[in-house]
């Protein structure tokens, strides 16, 4: 394959990684029945904190840990408000989005546009030598490899383990989960915080790797909303979510490339709109009867897998409260 093309794909994978991590985090949270709507602000604040912590300590690892703590703490506020104080999760999330974004601008004002530590590429021996796929997927940073592990790990957890059944059940029908011995609200806390910590990690992935440094206005502003949309597009299924994130990053790369080509004249607004239009079309397709018809012609073993993969219903108890007796 053309080395230039390989380079493009390599950077798409790299650029998509924060989106992948953030939307995997949100998938975990929402599977447990909680909505963390604060993603956009969470990403910005944790990116800022991650960068500053890394800059001050001189260690990217410490930056990552700090960012994850910030993401986890924001999620904790959502969990306390939504579960303990029985407030509306969407309202809390929305307020937190605005609050954390402003907080980041305010607290980070002395650290803008300075160089700091970065996470560097570390190609995986042997794997990186596989033709085509090697240089695309395995000549990346450790964070990218971690995102691969998260994708497969979450799939395995959700669909192949007992605690995964409990995780899905608390988001689908908490009464049933309770009857089968789950401590619904404690699990919801746990998964909300884990999800939030991953969003924090995604923030650090921006400021320590993809768009190194800190600036105002923050360069990742808006990506939190995109991650939220990707979770819906992905039908709360890790593989589809990842597909959505890569697709989005790919379209973005394409639109940047087209803008740089003077021969093609398309309005920027139009280009930026394409991913959203595609997303809506896909959602319509998936939720229409077309899929069920497609399923009937597939061989049986494939049917089950496909249905699972294409499922587009949100967790039935998403955003609801559960009163434990």
């Amino acid at each position: 394959m053309n080395p230039e093309l390989i380079n493009i794909f390599n950077s798409i994978v790299a650029n998509a990684t924060p989106l992948v991590i953030a939307s995997i985090g949100e998938t975990i949270t929402e599977r447990a029945g909680v909505v963390n709507l604060s993603l956009d602000g969470s990403l910005i604040l944790s990116a800022m904190v991650g960068f500053v912590a890394a800059f001050v300590s001189g260690s990217a690892i410490i930056g990552i840990i700090a960012a994850m703590i910030v993401g986890g703490l924001i999620a904790l506020i959502i969990a306390i408000g939504g579960i303990e104080l029985r407030q509306d999760q969407v309202a809390i999330g929305f307020v937190l989005t605005l609050l954390t974004a402003d907080l980041a601008t305010f607290l980070g004002q002395n650290y803008t546009r300075i160089p700091g530590p970065q996470i560097l590429r570390s190609p995986i021996p042997i794997l990186a030598d596989i033709p085509v796929a090697g240089p695309i997927f395995f000549n990346q940073t450790a964070l990218v490899y971690l995102s691969y592990a998260l994708i497969f790990g979450l799939w395995y957890w959700l669909f192949r383990t007992r605690p995964g059944l409990a995780l899905r059940a608390i988001g689908e029908r908490p009464e049933t989960a309770f009857a089968r011995g789950a401590n619904v609200n404690r699990l919801r806390y746990l998964y909300t915080i884990i999800g939030g910590a991953l969003v924090g990690l995604a923030g650090a992935a921006y400021s320590l790797s993809v768009k190194p440094g800190w600036a105002t206005p923050p360069s990742m502003a808006g990506d939190g909303w995109i991650a939220l949309a990707i979770v819906i597009f992905g039908g709360w299924h890790p593989f589809r979510v990842v597909l959505g994130a890569y697709l989005f990053a790919g379209l973005r790369a394409l639109s940047t490339a087209i803008q740089r080509t003077p021969e093609i004249e398309i309005s920027v607004v139009l280009l930026n709109g394409i991913p959203w239009v595609l997303m809506i079309i896909t959602l319509l397709l998936v939720s229409s009867g077309a899929i069920e018809r497609l399923l009937t012609v597939l061989p049986r073993p494939l049917q089950k897998w496909t249905r699972n993969f294409l499922r587009s219903d949100p967790p039935a108890a998403l955003g609801t409260r559960f009163k434990q007796k």
Partner: protein, 495 residues
């Protein structure tokens, strides 16, 4: 197997605010017995069963198993002690497959062995003739199949006592036969104890070895079977209930309140063609058929909740084809859905709020008069509840009474889905008295019911739905239950 288990309940008390739902209950259940738990609506049956199965805590009292007192905090712990309960609406997860649902809740290490679990599921299903596809999403199963799944799941967890709360509402006749055979076998061969809460006395008579009767939170009697319906009714209500005389309709005009002309109805699963029907003022029309044979679709079409794909619907002489539910309501029709809490009533709202919703037409509600009105309605309809009670805390029978209170006073036509679902014999009669009162005023009633007895007792005419066909019973005078049962099953259908 011979795993014995004796259950003793001692001095069990449970209050909900002012309601003493269980008042000093003492009961013993012996191993290998099928025991019927009877009682009027709101008597406290479900509460007691939920306490025994860990779904609800008790205020005071003790549960003894095999001579030892036990205490547990939750259903999972009760199952570990060998007691499992099948809720009326089976507690499962719709998004799971049958197999996942079977596995979820079983103890074991991180990653369950799906093959082993599948074999266990198939073996248990085979034993009782249940047909459960392990890969099918639970949301696509019928209530009867979800029950079967829950039973094999509980058996796999090793329960020795099985509690069933009104298991026969909403399942087909074949599923009921399968269920009863399974319960008999479990009691006889595995010495399991089975506790059955039911309002259907014929089911109790067919299945149980003994019965215990609750009234207003207390045990008021028990009896070894066999017993007749009359004996059971006397035990439950303290008196025999007089048979209700049937009154002929006094249709003084021949005008149709409701007329269907060659209506075609269709949904994803079926199509029914050519339904023609004229209903006169004061007539009661019963719709018979297995669950989901189209009765509900027709009822909904009569009030504009379902669109006819062909044909014409007239209400009181006006062509209403294609009109909205709202427009139908304005012509004076009323609709009562079978899923009370899903469609008819709003969980979370109080009785006063419900009444205010239907009576108040201004944007601002006069809460004082609404409350007053609610108190009147509570008295008139004999509802066990207070104006500020939230609807979901009422027992099933009382919810149904509220639903009646919400109906307009003199509708032209009432379309009712299973108007007495889940009601005790006395409440069911009471509901019918109310309905018959209204028919005297000229209201026509069209209703569906899975209860053949109810259909034959109250209908002037019966329409049978079967496999996409509808047919009116020709000879109402000499119709027997058996005959009607056979017609529902598809015999004697003219095609």
């Amino acid at each position: 197997m011979g795993l014995v288990m004796n259950i003793e309940l001692k001095h069990i008390h449970k209050r909900f605010g002012a309601v003493h739902a269980n008042n000093d209950i003492n009961l013993t259940f012996a191993t290998g017995r099928i025991v019927g738990i009877l009682g009027e609506n709101g008597a406290g049956k479900s509460t007691l069963m939920k306490i025994l199965s860990g779904f609800q805590s008790m205020d005071s009292g003790e549960i003894w198993l095999d001579g030892k007192p036990v205490s547990y905090n939750g259903p999972q712990a009760a199952i570990a002690h060998g007691i499992g309960m099948l809720q009326q609406d089976p507690l499962d997860v719709g998004a799971f497959t049958v197999l996942e649902n079977f596995i979820y809740g079983q103890p074991g290490n991180l990653s369950p062995k799906r093959k082993v679990a599948q074999q266990q599921l198939e073996k248990l299903s085979q034993r009782f003739g249940f047909e459960l596809d392990p890969d099918m999403p639970v949301s696509q199963l019928s209530i009867g199949q979800r029950q079967q799944l829950e039973i094999v799941r509980l058996l796999a967890l090793g329960v020795r006592t099985l509690i069933l709360d009104e298991p026969t509402t909403g399942i087909s006749t074949e599923q009921k036969t399968l269920l009863f055979d399974a319960l008999r076998e479990l009691a006889a061969k595995d010495s399991m104890t089975v506790l059955l809460v039911s309002h259907k006395l014929e089911d109790v008579i067919a299945l149980c070895h003994e019965v215990a009767v609750l009234r207003a939170g207390r045990i008021v009697g028990s009896m070894d079977m066999p017993a007749t319906t009359t004996e059971l009714v006397t035990l439950m209500f303290g008196q025999e209930l007089a048979a209700q005389p049937r009154q002929p309709i006094n249709a003084n005009s021949d005008d149709a309140v409701l007329a269907l002309h060659k209506v075609q109805l269709r949904n994803k699963r079926m199509k029914i063609d050519n339904i023609s029907l004229r209903v006169r003022a004061g007539e009661i029309i019963g719709l018979a058929g297995l669950d989901g044979s189209g009765q509900e679709m027709l009822l909904r079409a009569c009030v504009g909740l379902e669109k006819c794909s062909r044909g014409q619907i007239d209400i009181a002489g006006r062509d209403m084809t294609g009109k909205s539910y709202r427009e139908f309501l304005q012509t004076g029709v009323a609709f009562g859905a079978a899923g009370r809490l899903e469609e008819g009533l709003v969980a979370g709202l109080t009785l006063t709020e419900h009444i205010a919703l239907v009576t108040s037409h201004q944007s601002f509600i006069d809460w004082n008069s609404a409350r007053q009105h609610t108190e009147d309605q509570i008295k008139h309809y004999n509802v066990r509840g207070r104006p500020e009670s939230r609807i979901e805390t009422l027992s099933g029978g009382n919810q149904q009474r509220v639903l009646m209170a919400l109906m307009p006073q003199e509708p032209v036509l009432m379309a009712l889905e299973q108007p007495t679902r889940g009601l005790d014999v006395d409440s069911a009669r009471w509901i019918w008295q109310q309905l018959i009162e209204r028919r005297k005023g000229g209201t026509a009633i069209i209703f569906s019911s899975p209860d053949l007895d109810e259909l034959v007792t109250y209908s002037d005419r019966i329409i049978v739905f079967c496999g996409g066909w509808v047919q009116e019973v020709a000879d109402m005078e000499n119709l027997t239950l058996d005959e009607l049962g056979r017609m529902i099953g598809g015999e004697g259908v003219i095609q």
